[in-house]
Each structure stands twice: as structure tokens, then as C-alpha cells.
Amino acid sequence: MSIEFLIAAIVTVIGLATPILLAGLGELVTEKSGVLNLGVEGMMLIGAIAGFAATVATGNPWLGVIAAAAGGALASLIFGFFVLTLNSNQVATGLALTIFGTGLSSLLGLGYTGRIVAQFASPFPVELAKHPIGQLVFGHSPVVYFSILMVVLVAWFLKSTRAGLILRAVGENDLSAHSIGYSVIGVRYAAVAFGGAMAGIGGAYFSLVITPMWAEKMTAGRGWIALALVVFAGWRAGRLLAGAYFFGILMALELYAKASGFAILPSQFWAAMPYIVTVVVLAIISSRETGGGNAPACLGRPFLPAN
């Protein structure tokens, strides 16, 4: 096995891992505030078309990424209005958001099928990526570096900042946070919008980086894997990074096994693998730590203060 072979394989894994990492990070922050948003797939699709359309219009993929974040955040705020202001059921509303996002992105994308867009220039000098090792370090889309940077930022924010502490408090015990004067709804709106923005960027990774085109439903269910990933990671940013790459390796292994002419396991099993692994990890977590491990205590519950 040559070094070039290994690096090419790693590049494939990065392509598979990055979008679920981005969307998963956003959902992690949302869930840490106590809100379960099952609309990740829909927000990713809205981000994918928003990013693509903006890039077509401006010729600048950076503006595309910003538009994707804005599109995803906007979609998530609709969800936020229903679950935070109107106290609707989070699971049902999140599913509706996925349906809405799928349909809306198809509608918005009608004029964009078959078009091509400007692509990201490498943030590093091209010569650096000539050597295989250099390619591994410097050869990726800026969005890949952004995703790693965001892991560090989210981990730091949740662990070491006052705002992160408040967010976690809101997710763990909303009534207590409310009684000492924090705006539970305000914090949750912010967390939901962040989740939407990150899902939007994750979606744009499909339409701007992997296959720079718009195709309906092009995220093909990755939003659901991102949701499983958050649980798999036990609501920790560092583990989310490891988990995203682990899922990426699983997906790549399936393809490598098939392309090499043998089947380790039936392909249906491979497709179900992220979910199976998540269930297993969930079982381990909950047997080891009582009370569901690191899951935010208020996850999925509406905030209903007494007064």
C-alpha cells in the first residue's frame, strides 16, 4: 500500500466526514440548549441550494457559504418560532422542517439544475499540495479547515466560556436558569440559529465542494446520520470529530471492499452501520452512567415557566 493510495483514501474519508461533522456540531449546540431539532436534513438542503444560488449570482463561493449559513439559520428560526414561541412539539416540528426544507429546496432549485459554479481556490499556495504529505495537510477545501476550527471553538465555548455555561444550564435545567434571570428562550433561539447555520454550511459542502452542482435531495439522508452522530458522540465536540471520521471510514470501507471485489458484510448492513453503532454506543453510555449520560436533561421538552 503506497502513501499516495493511503492519502487518496483519507481524502475520500474527509469528504464523507466533513458535512456530517458540520451539521452535527450545529445540532450538538442546539441540543445542549435543550432543543431537539430533527430538521437537519431539511436545513442542509436549504443551505445547499442557498449556497449554490448565491455562488451562481456572485461567482464567489465564500458568499455562497455565508448565504448557506443564512438560509439554514432562517429555516431553523421558523422551527424556533413554532417550538420556542408557540411551544409546539419539537419532534413533529423538526420532522416537518425536514419535509419543508426538502420541498422548498426543490422548488428554489428548479432553475439551477444543470448549472455550474465557481469553485474555492485553495487557501494555501498550490505548490504546497504537490507532495502527497503536503496534499494531506494543505490540499483540502477551506470548508474542511473551517469544520476542524469549529470543533475547537465549540468545545472551548461550551467548556470554558460564561456564555457556554449559561447555554448548558438552560439545557440542563431551564426553570433554574430562568429563576436566576437568564432568558431561556433567547438562548435557545440563538442555539437553534447556530444549528441551522452549521447545517446550512454542511449542505453547501455538497453543492459547492464535493460535487459543485445543484441536484434535488443531493444530501441523500446525511442529515439523519448527523443526528445519530450527536448521540454517538455523547454530546461532546471532541468525540463528535472522532465520530464523524469514524463514520466516514465506515462509509469508505464499504466502497473499498466492493471495489476490491469482495463483500465483508451485506451492503444493507453497511448502510445501517452508523445507526447500529449509535444504538450500541447509546446502550453502553446509559448502562455506564445513570440518567442517560451526557444528554441535556431538558432535551426536547418545551419551556413552560410557572409565571
Binding site: 475520500t12 416540528t93 419535509i99 422548488l107 439544475t113 455550474i116 460535487t211 444530501t219
Partner: protein, 360 residues
Amino acid sequence: MAKLTRRNFMQAAGAAATLPLLGTPALAADKLKVGFIFLGPIGDFGWTWAHNKGRLAMESALGDKVESIYVENVAEDASAIPLISDLANQGCKLIFTTSYGYMDPTLEVAAKFPDVKFEHCTGFKRADNVSTYNSKFHEGRAVLGTIAGMMSKSGKLGYLGSYKVPEVVLGVNAFTLSAQKKNPAATVKLVMIDSWYDPPKEAAATETMINLGADIITTHTDSPGPLQILEQKGLFGFGQGADMSQFAPHAHLTAIEDIWGPYYTERAQAVIDGSWKSTDTWDGFKEGTVIISPYNASVPADVKAEADKIQAGYKDGSFDIFTGPIYDTEGTLKVKEGEHIAIGDLATMDWFVKGVETAA
């Protein structure tokens, strides 16, 4: 919120998309209403896109004699049954179900609606009110295989497949046998991704085959994603279902295009005339159901000439890629020298020829 189900929404979105094409919804009862069940989104730029183009061609050919409705993203399982029934309940007298997996659902619904005519694409089960129609895509694959066999430097080719269904098996075998006629040592890596449409997985599978040495890859899935990967790597591939050259101006050597319009028009006209009968149609180059897109400028003249020869051979009936000797992957002689595979056996082919590297 509760009323917003997947189907409701997609129908609303579908209706909104169709309205400008239909003009004002007609009330005339003597119009033939034609229904379509689509596998993917009409914007997939591949399989479903081509079927939808056929639908639009039928509408413009028959003008105000027909109107049509369609449902997109229909899964190939029992969940298709209520959707097909729905079209019949909405007054469709002719319904096209456009993928292999709708075979049993179509027959089941057809039994309940004896006065509605059904047309199932790529299947082999028929009834008095169920026809089957298919296209000899494998004839197109023979052209692609010829080009790939002559242009590949490594002799290692890739085939991105979806499921192990006869249509795909035929495509793989025609592609492989044709490549081997030009380069006897050619091998084909086959990866089935268990989906007709999953752009990120199509892209990842393409990267994988490239990394394992393939330098020309053909796809039997429906997005242009793989071509974009090939374009980035400076390698070659082919469009599937439609000319996809704008996605990959250098990598796109040519494409197999599916032309359904004439068939849809003919069958709708037959229903209007009352002459519709249950038939089995399997057209190819000869009838114009399969066509080959313009060749890329990078295809050398001698390769073009060989590719054209295959097309001409199919058009005048002098060529058949499934002519013996043909061996399977185990090396067993399956078709003797000079013999052909009978058309019925082709329609149910489930074994791969020698040189295909696969886990399927």
C-alpha cells in the same frame, strides 16, 4: 402542521412546478389523463429527468388531447401501491411506472383498475392491461465500452452500479465485453452503491475506484457527480441518461441518452384511438430510443470510427455484443462460439462476464 405530510407537500410542490407547463387546468372530460410514477426527482439530470422530458414531449406532440400528472421520489417498494392507485383514482387512464422496482406494485394496482392501462418500464411481468417497455441501454454501453477499451491507459475500468438488476447486469457485461474486444486484458471494477441517486456516495465511490487504478469510469447511477470527480482528476467518464458535458467539459467523452418521448406519444395516442394492447417493447439504437451524445473533441478519430461502427451494426442488426464465446467470472463457458443469448435470457441475466471484478 399535522396536515403537512411528505406526500401532500411533494404533490403541492409538484403541482406548482407543473402549472406553468400545463397552462390553465382543463376541465374537459374527453382529455386523456396520463400519470407518471418517477423514481427520483425530475431535476436529477439523469434517469427521471429523461422520463420527464419524454412526458413533456408527449404533451407537446398531442397538445390538448392529453394532460399529465406525475409523482416524484417514489420508493421501489409497497409504498408505491397507494401512489399508483392515487393516479388511477384521479382519473388517469394511462399510467407509466418508470423503474424496475415498481413491477409488482404496478401489477397489483392494475388488477384493481381493469379499465386503466399501465406501462411498466424495465420489467418483465405483464397482464391484459399492463405492458412493459424498456430500452436497450446495453447497446449504448457497448459503444462506451469500445471507447473505454481503446482510450484507457491502465486497462482498468470502473463501473458505478446501483443494484444487481438485469438492466445493470446487461450494462456491465456489454461494457466489459466491448472493452475486451479492443483490449483483451481489460478488467472492470464494479461498485454497487445500493441507490440510483446519492451524489455524495457516487462521488466517494468514484474516488475509490480511481484510487484502485481505474482511469475511465462509467456510471449506472443518475447524477453527474462522478463526472465532476473525474474532471477534477483529469480522467474520463460518460454521461448517463442525458448529455452531461456541461458538468465535465473534458472528462465527458460522450453519453447514453434515453429518448422516451416517441414511445409515450405513441402509447397515449393508442389509448385515445382505442387500439392499445398489452405489449412488450424493447427498443434500442434502431428505433431511436437510445442515442449517443456528440463525442468529446478529445476522442481520437479511430476511436470515433469504431464507436460509430457499433452503432451502425445495431441499427442494421448486424452486430450483437452478446455473441459467444462468453465466459462468466468463474471462467465457465456460458455462450458457445458464434451463438447468441436469447432475448428472454437477456431480460433476466444475473451473471457477470469474465473480467468483471465484483462483490455483487
